[in-house]
Amino acid sequence: MNSAKVEIRDVTKAFRSTGGSQVTALAGISLRIPENEFLTVVGPSGCGKSTLLYIIGGFLKATRGEVLVNGVPVTGPGADRGIVFQKYSLFPWRTVMQNITYGLEEQGVPRAERQEIARSYLRLMRLEGFERAYPRALSGGMQQRVALAQTLACEPDIILMDEPFGALDAQTRKLMQVELLRLWEQRRTTIIFVTHDVEEAIYLGTRVIVMTARPGTVKHDEPIALNIARDKEDYMLNRAFMELKMRIWLNVKEEVERYGEVARS
Amino acid sequence: MAQGKPRVDVDMASGSREPAARRWAALRWLAAGVAHYFSVLLFFGLWEFVARSGWVNPWVFPPVTVSLAEWGRSLATGDIFHPMGLTLLRALGGLTMALGVGITLGLLMGRYRLVEWFFEPLIAIGFPAPKIAFLPLFVLWFGFFNTAKVLIVFTSCIFPLTLYAYHGARSVDRFYLWSALSKGSRGFALLRKVVLPAALPHIFDGFQVALIVSFIVAFVAEMVTGGGGLGFEMIKAAQDAETPRAFAMLFTISLLGYGTIKLAEWLRALLLFWHIEHEAH
């Protein structure tokens, strides 16, 4: 009966700051994310989106509540949950190729096979010719594509993404969105994708969550059932799309204003 | 990990003024201190034990309490203050001279191509080299007295001071310079009003290195060439088989080292209040 891929049960997270006071980042958030869902999460800055992902990833412990993955409580990080961080976090001492093969290496995939898999992702991310480059020689957008390839190459069961395209230029960003969507349509990996861009959230997600300002909970939960081909340009001019965008944006705006904080854009 | 345990409410304990509670607080404080410095106490305890066990020659390895007593005595009678003053004078004398020359030279190198061309290779070679090797030369030229010691300190300190000032001057944000130039600052005024303050964080890095170097070099020079001072007294005590006295000198110089490190940090906070320091960790 428990068919949820990821189940978040009443998760609360409080940080003790240096002054001794407490900051409640998440206040009793509950969510069920079924298999194959592409969940996108939007919300004002500082509402606990990253924190939620880190708890699902097993990097942080919830103060109260728990997260179940395939019905089993999360106790720590694992290779079943891949993550792409807000900030590029490539291993600077490894070349592009070595970065992409890292996870495969750790899982004991034989060398020849690793190389082959990595090469296909290199092509996918349009990084051919940079196999031997070190991260510092790459632009921000290229680094983020390597980070994406590094995580995808492990073929995790669930992918957690924390504003992965936030630092990319507009063009690269669009290309990456199309690429990610294509990949998801092929594999139907469960994805939890945090963004501050409402349009991106609707375009990519099969379901959008709007979080409240801190302490974060779910404010608005909306399945995206637009029956149109996701060809970007047409899609955005669609009336249903615009209505949806307006509705979600108003929800976000309300939270931003309530908190008196300006969302980054 | 202390996370799971119930937290002791510290404010309550210090708030109640009953003597019993205060005694408990003091005891707890003491226990925490012992727990924290456990390894240090163990170290000195072992030292004391081995020294008193009769396995080793007390000349080679005197009990730490005996050395501490000797230190206390030399502090109480004041006969440590004369050598301490000499060492301080030599270290800080050489350092002060090097400060004036090194910072000026470094800033000039950062601003004028010709000065840079002439001095850069000399500084680049001299900086990583052990300048203390010139000590016999300075003795040859200036004898065994203060001059040679002050000058070897000067020589050792000038390299880090110049190099850091030079890097500081080179890395001054060009928009500061353009802004000042467009307001009519030129030459020396530009150096003093813009380059110097902007390079100050770097210069302070150099100063902190040079401060430690000055004490090390003065001390070594005293050990090698004599003429009074903590280094000389320590070597003399070692040669005269007065090992506790040698340790008393070691304690003194360490305390001096600690004091200067703290003084430099304090000065830095005082002078560079406008500069956002990167936290080390």
Binding site: G57, F59, P77, G78, A79, R81, G82, I83, K87, S89, F91, P92, W93, R94, E106, Q107, P135, R136, Q150, C154 | Y37, F38, S39, V40, V60, F61, W117, F118, F119, P121, L122, I125, G126, P128, A129, P130, I132, A133, P136, L137, V139, L140, H167, I212, I216, F219, V220, M223, V224, I235, A238, A246, L250, I253, S254, G257, Y258, I261, A280, H281
Partner: protein
């Protein structure tokens, strides 16, 4: 050859200094026993470099630095990382490190001479102890400041906590440890020369002093130059090697 020209232009000031030296000393404007002629220093340099005795002293000095540094690097990196990784190591080592940090390192030379005599052992011990403290502190700080996202990234790709040290923590902290080792090399040479000045019967420091005490100033100058040259080349050689090993990292000058 533009590269050669660049080197000549760069080191021309050095040649100018030497030229001025020779110009002042050759006509005996300055007494020979005060500053020897530069030409004589060069001659002494040639002599030294072709004498077996010199290489004996150089080997003694070099082995002291090498062994002392090796010990301090291995112990320092292990303790520094250990302190960051295991609470009990930190508990034990931190007070000792804090206490020994402000001791000016040459001040331990007389103590080690009393304990270990004037041979190799006291010099090696002084160098090892003098260099280990800064290496411990840097390794500790470097390990603690490893980007947590790198650690998390590795954990989410199946790296176990035990492998983490080798796969992430160590390479990530290597650049800062490398800088600390470079400082340690400079400190090691200072300690070597100082301890050989104070009490020794072999080594380059000893050689310098013994030439000075018999009045062979040209030879004394030559040995000093050689010590400076060795210290300088050790630094540059290390920097060049590290630039290769850490090709992925961007180094500043200094």
């Amino acid at each position: 050859m533009p590269a050669l020209r660049k080197i000549v232009v760069r080191f021309l000031p050095l040649l100018l200094v030497f030229g001025a030296w020779e110009a002042l000393t050759a006509p005996r404007l300055i007494p020979e026993d005060f500053i020897p002629r530069f030409a004589h220093v060069l001659r002494a340099l040639g002599d030294l470099l072709s004498s077996a005795e010199f290489y004996g002293h150089a080997a003694a000095s070099f082995s002291r630095v090498f062994i002392g540094l090796t010990i301090s690097i291995i112990a320092g990196v292990a303790l520094g990382i250990g302190m960051a990784w295991y609470r009990w190591v930190k508990r034990f080592c931190e007070p000792l490190v804090v206490l020994s940090y402000p001791i000016p390192k040459p001040a331990i030379i007389p103590v080690f001479i009393i304990w270990l005599g004037i041979g190799d052992l006291s010099k090696i011990a002084v160098i090892a102890l003098g260099c280990v403290v800064p290496i411990i502190i840097s390794s500790y700080n470097a390990t603690l400041s490893v980007d947590r996202y790198l650690v998390w990234s590795a954990l989410s790709k199946g790296t176990s906590e035990r492998r983490l040290l080798r796969k992430v923590i160590f390479p990530a902290s290597l650049p800062r440890i490398a800088v600390a080792i470079r400082v340690a090399i400079a400190v090691a040479f200072i300690l070597l020369v100082s301890s050989e000045f104070i009490a020794a019967n072999t080594g380059l420091g000893y050689l310098t002093f013994s030439y000075g005490s018999v009045g062979s100033n040209d030879y004394m100058f030559a040995t000093i130059f050689l010590i400076v040259a060795v210290g300088f080349s050790a630094d540059r050689g290390y920097a060049a090697v590290m630039q290769r090993v850490l090709a992925w990292h961007e180094f500043g000058e200094l």
